[in-house]
């Protein structure tokens, strides 16, 4: 659906994107993750030509974006809906007028517009707010209008620029749920730019990590969170205290293992003691994955290491000095 190969982009002296490559398949929910200023939003805008890139290539549905004429670009954007952090709705139009606007721009017949707007209002659950002014809506409702507007032209791709960053956690989940629903029902490919780990875990199949314009990791969401590269750790730093004596080991549980009592088994088999420092089970889309941080004595470390290896556990010793 989208293939980016070595995109680079600079604003004056500042390089905002350096050699960024990735590809997104049809029907994917693809996360672009990084802290603010990492170049995520700029990258997203290179895909629909709102920003030009200086080097590399972006092919959307097989066609190079940079070589498109103005008219072709507009046709491309028709296939790519976009939603925004601040919703970017027209304050002076009401809900249905906002949703209808893209259709009017593309000269859709009046009765067709009415039908389409009605369907979209049902889809995002705002049928009773049809004639409400934008300013009377909550943040979540505004984003629902944004989503309805972005879907008005039946796009094949939906670009989400920090779409849930201005929303509270509960609303964030409901919006992500809606995006997943849309992704499934209409096989719309979704690109989700975010700095919220919750959003990534809840919705994304695959993730691209971006730091200062560079790709610092990419892959399936589960894999990245089970064995996070350094760049991801900076984003999801463990809030657990380091016990100074022994060695901290962070164990990652893929789904199958989570159910087995591997840790108590280890204590029995090896006849050692260790302390549990922290841990968490998290929901990644529909899977439950978890990690546990235990502290083992230095003299037991080798045996523990071997045991974990035998049982094919993902693990790491974050503060290991040895």
């Amino acid at each position: 659906m989208i293939e980016a190969d070595g995109i680079s982009k600079r604003f004056g002296e500042q390089e905002v994107l350096r050699d960024v490559s990735f590809s997104v398949g049809p029907g994917d929910i693809f996360g672009i993750v990084g802290c603010s200023g990492a170049g995520k939003s700029t990258l997203l805008r290179c895909l629909n030509g709102l920003e030009a890139y200086d080097g590399g290539s972006v092919r959307v549905m097989g066609r190079e974006v940079a070589s498109m004429t103005e008219r072709e670009l507009r046709a491309l954007r028709r296939e790519m809906g976009m939603i925004f952090q601040n919703f970017n709705l027209m304050e002076r139009k009401n809900v249905e007028e906002n949703i209808a606007w893209p259709l009017e721009v593309w000269k859709t017949p009046r009765n067709e517009i009415v039908r389409r707007v009605g369907d979209l209002l049902d889809l995002v659950g705002l049928a009773e707010k049809r004639t409400e002014k934008i300013r009377n809506l909550s943040g979540g409702q505004k984003q629902r209008v944004g989503i309805a507007r972005a879907l008005a032209l039946n796009p094949k791709i939906l670009l989400c620029d920090e779409a849930t960053s201005a929303l509270d956690p509960k609303t964030t989940l409901s919006i992500l749920e809606l995006l997943r629903d849309i992704n499934r029902r209409f096989t719309v490919t979704v690109l989700l730019v975010t700095h919220q780990m919750e959003a990534v875990k809840t919705a994304c199949h695959r993730v691209l990590l971006l730091d200062q314009g560079r790709v610092t990791g990419s892959g399936r969401t589960e894999d990245l969170f089970l064995a996070p590269p350094a760049s991801l750790k900076n984003l999801v730093r463990d809030e657990y205290a380091v016990v100074p004596t022994g060695i901290n080991i962070r164990l990652m549980f893929p789904r199958e293992i989570a159910r087995e009592s591997i840790i108590t088994g280890m204590a029995r088999e090896l006849g050692i003691d260790f302390s549990v420092i922290g841990g968490r089970l998290e929901r990644y889309r529909d899977d439950i994955l978890g990690f546990l941080i235990i502290n083992v004595r230095r003299e037991d470390f080798d045996r523990v290491q071997r045991y974990l290896g035998e049982h094919r556990l993902f693990w790491e010793a974050p503060d290991d000095v040895a």
């Binding site: 046709a75 028709r78 976009m82 925004f84 601040n86 027209m90 893209p102 721009v105 593309w106 972005a150």
Partner: protein, 211 residues
């Protein structure tokens, strides 16, 4: 006296209304071009923007009374005469156009860049964005600014009146000042106060309703 006051008020309203309409229309056109061509506009064009910017500043730096005298030949060419209410509409319009352009440029620039970007993101043309997004979104602010232009023109029209344009300014100077009829001067000023109140009141009311 009441008869003269009524006639003067009528002349003033005529000058202000017609010159407001003309200057708002031409100022709006200039503002649209400036917003399109400015550095962060939809069609950046430094040459066009710099030229208009300079022209606007240049015209705005003329004191009205000097401008009015300087363009007498033009006024005569357009209106056939350089005296009277109709003739004074020419310098009034030329003086207020750059002012109107500048403050309406401000109104249009205030429109949230994100809303404009959203319109681009679903493939709207530039002109469609200007007239379908920027102008409607800026409309409340534009309405308030039209009231500012009209009140500004009211002040200028009193000046134009003093040199042969007629209207309340003319009345105040001729009777009130030259003939020491303080009551005429007072009533003329009161009438001007009332007109300002009405213009601003209407502007604010429309603004409130639009928002």
């Amino acid at each position: 006296m009441w008869h003269e006051l009524a006639a003067a008020l009528q002349e003033t309203l005529y000058m202000v209304t017609v010159s407001t309409v003309f200057s708002v229309l031409s100022g709006f056109a200039l503002a649209v071009v400036m917003v399109l061509t400015c550095a962060r506009g939809l069609r950046p064009n430094a040459a066009v923007y710099a030229t208009l910017d300079l022209l606007v500043n240049l015209l705005r730096s003329f004191p009205f009374i000097i401008l009015m005298i300087a363009i007498i030949p033009l006024t005569r060419f357009v209106a056939g005469t350089s005296i009277g209410s109709t003739a004074s509409i020419v310098p009034l319009t030329i003086a207020a156009t750059p002012f109107a352009a500048r403050i309406m440029e401000g109104s249009l620039m205030e429109v949230d860049a994100g809303v404009v970007e959203a319109a681009r993101s679903f493939g709207a043309r530039d002109l469609r964005i200007v007239f379908g997004v920027m102008v409607p979104e800026a409309m409340p602010s534009i309405v308030l600014n039209i009231a500012v232009v009209a009140i500004n023109l009211l002040g200028c029209s009193a000046m134009a009146g003093a040199v042969g344009g007629g209207g309340l300014g003319d009345l105040a100077v001729k009777y009130g000042y030259n003939r020491f009829q303080t009551d005429v001067m007072a009533y003329s000023v009161l009438a001007l106060v009332a007109v300002v109140q009405v213009i601003q009141g209407v502007g604010t009311a429309i603004y409130r309703r639009m928002r």
